[in-house]
């Protein structure tokens, strides 16, 4: 494609084997006054990578 460069195809729709609940509780990470999940990791994947 000449006019569009796709940076990411996103992963919202990937729901296979997901929802295990092992990932970190968002607010615990650094803020304690807000929550965001953009910077969180999926435990399912990180565990596999290790």
């Amino acid at each position: 494609m000449k006019q569009i460069k796709t940076i990411s195809k996103g992963s919202v729709k990937d729901i296979r084997n997901k929802g295990c609940g092992e990932c970190q509780t968002s607010c615990q990470s650094a803020c304690k006054t807000s929550c965001t999940v953009a910077n969180q990791e999926c435990e399912n994947i990180t565990t596999k990578r290790r």
Binding site: I4, I15, K18, G21, C35, Q40, C42
Partner: protein, 445 residues
């Protein structure tokens, strides 16, 4: 739903329902923006460029990367989750050795008396977490306060106890600690660096900014008392290869908070987080919706700082600009990030249980007591049904799968309605996400 914005000289389009991110030409940007606003607009480019843009857009639509269909809510609703508790905020001390003007804990005592958590209560809290954690293996305990180093003997004791119990039960507890740094010394630092997976160090930035709100008990500034300790601690922590964040709060007194991040970075702190103060509108230092344009411009300045640092070979990690575009958490998590009242609880120094640290001391949110062994999660449904599909503002928000619906405590405290996120915080969250996505896109160009 799509969202269009510019970052530096990039035209960026995000597709809400898939999470896809694209950098596009001016023609594509104009066409998509016309489509979003359902307006026909004349384009001042030649016909072949237009045709090419149109074909590329259509291809992405076919691939489900633009204007894609929503994931069926019934498949991914957070309401499907089991009532399991896996994270705990443990209030080691309802007392503090600082007197910060904006403290939501009322300078440590959480509208109760100043007190320290007894070791026995802490052990009961850990037992409580383990008992309610179902089949979850990874659990979290944050040592919080007030100031947890005021009761550090109990922290040591509880880490030891937690390690014993996790072995028995085949679980893994991640310990974290939040401190103002005043009592850090080589001895407690060594223990912290060995046992804590993450440490949050509170400091607001430039000396005059920090000292205006973060005060000693006697009313003086705190910067000079903590800065050396924090730097020494971070040096040791970096050597140990462990995670930390220096975390500041910005208020109406320092709307130029990028300067504070720059100051902290210049001192060698590589992981920084600053958060907008959330407080009653009557306070002098409260932020209001009228501040939004200025604050958004400040996040742009912060993004510039990050780009400069990256170029100079000393990259900075700013908590809210970190984004994982390639993967990130699954949609179940994205639909309700805040675990308050469902998977997360706070335990006060007297053993009282609350949905999260921000509700501690509020009778309406009291859920039981770990010493008495009584616990009734009567607010589970209220919290469990608050997610991006049920909050009207979130349903129509382009950022929903990155934001995850905001902080329940903010919604309750600022708007009196758990389903109505705080608009000021939303505006800032969306701006931070634009910067985060922009920086990630820039890195790939």
């Amino acid at each position: 739903m799509i969202h269009l914005f510019t970052f530096k000289d990039l035209n960026i389009v995000t597709d809400t329902e898939s999470g896809a991110v694209h950098v596009v030409s001016g023609t594509v940007y104009d066409m998509l923006s016309a489509a979003e606003h359902k307006k026909d607009r004349p384009f001042c480019v030649d016909a072949s460029t237009q045709r090419e843009a149109k074909e590329e857009i259509e291809e992405l639509v076919r691939e489900g990367l633009l204007f894609s269909e929503p994931v069926p809510e019934e498949l991914v609703s957070p309401e499907l989750r089991e009532p399991v508790i896996k994270a705990m905020c443990l209030h080691i001390a309802h007392d503090c050795n600082m007197r910060c003007a904006y403290c939501f804990a009322g300078t440590g005592e959480y509208s109760g008396e100043r007190s320290l958590l007894p070791a026995e209560t802490g052990r009961n809290a850990i037992d409580f977490l383990l008992e309610h954690s179902g089949t979850r293996r990874n659990l979290e305990i944050d040592f919080f306060g007030g100031e947890p180093l005021m009761n550090f003997g109990v922290v040591r004791d509880l880490v030891r106890y937690g390690r014993e119990r996790e072995r028995e039960l085949g679980k893994h507890i991640r310990f974290t600690l939040t401190t103002n740094g005043l009592l850090l010394d080589d001895e407690n630092s060594a223990f912290i660096n060995e046992h804590m997976d993450n440490v949050i160090l509170s400091i607001d930035g430039r000396p005059e900014v920090n000292d205006r709100v973060r005060r000693t008990v006697a009313g003086g500034g705190t910067y000079e008392h903590i800065i050396g300790k924090l730097r020494r601690f971070v040096k040791a922590r970096e050597k140990a290869g462990k995670l930390y964040y220096v975390r500041g709060t910005y208020t109406a007194y320092n709307k130029d908070f990028a300067e504070d991040v720059a100051h902290l970075a210049s001192l060698g702190f590589g992981n920084v987080s600053v958060e907008p103060v959330v407080t009653s509108a009557e306070e002098d230092f409260a932020l209001t919706e009228a501040d939004i344009p200025e604050l958004c411009a400040e996040y742009d300045r912060l993004a510039d700082l990050m780009i400069e640092r990256e170029k100079s070979g000393a990259p900075l990690s700013f908590f809210h600009f970190n984004i994982d575009l390639s993967q990130g958490p699954c949609v179940f998590k994205r639909a309700a990030g805040c675990g308050a009242g469902t998977e997360y609880v706070a335990v006060a120094a007297n053993g009282d249980l609350y949905p999260c640290h921000q509700f501690v001391g509020e009778p309406a949110y009291l859920l039981g007591n770990v010493n008495a062994g009584n616990f009734e999660n009567r607010l589970f449904d209220t919290f469990n049904t608050a997610h991006i599909f049920s909050k009207p503002a979130c349903r129509d928000c382009w950022a929903k799968y990155w934001c995850s619906g905001g902080c329940h405590a903010n919604a309750v405290h600022m708007n009196g309605d758990i389903l109505r996120p705080h608009e000021l915080v939303c505006a800032l969250e969306r701006k931070r996400l634009e910067c985060a996505i922009g920086l990630a896109a820039l890195a790939q160009m």
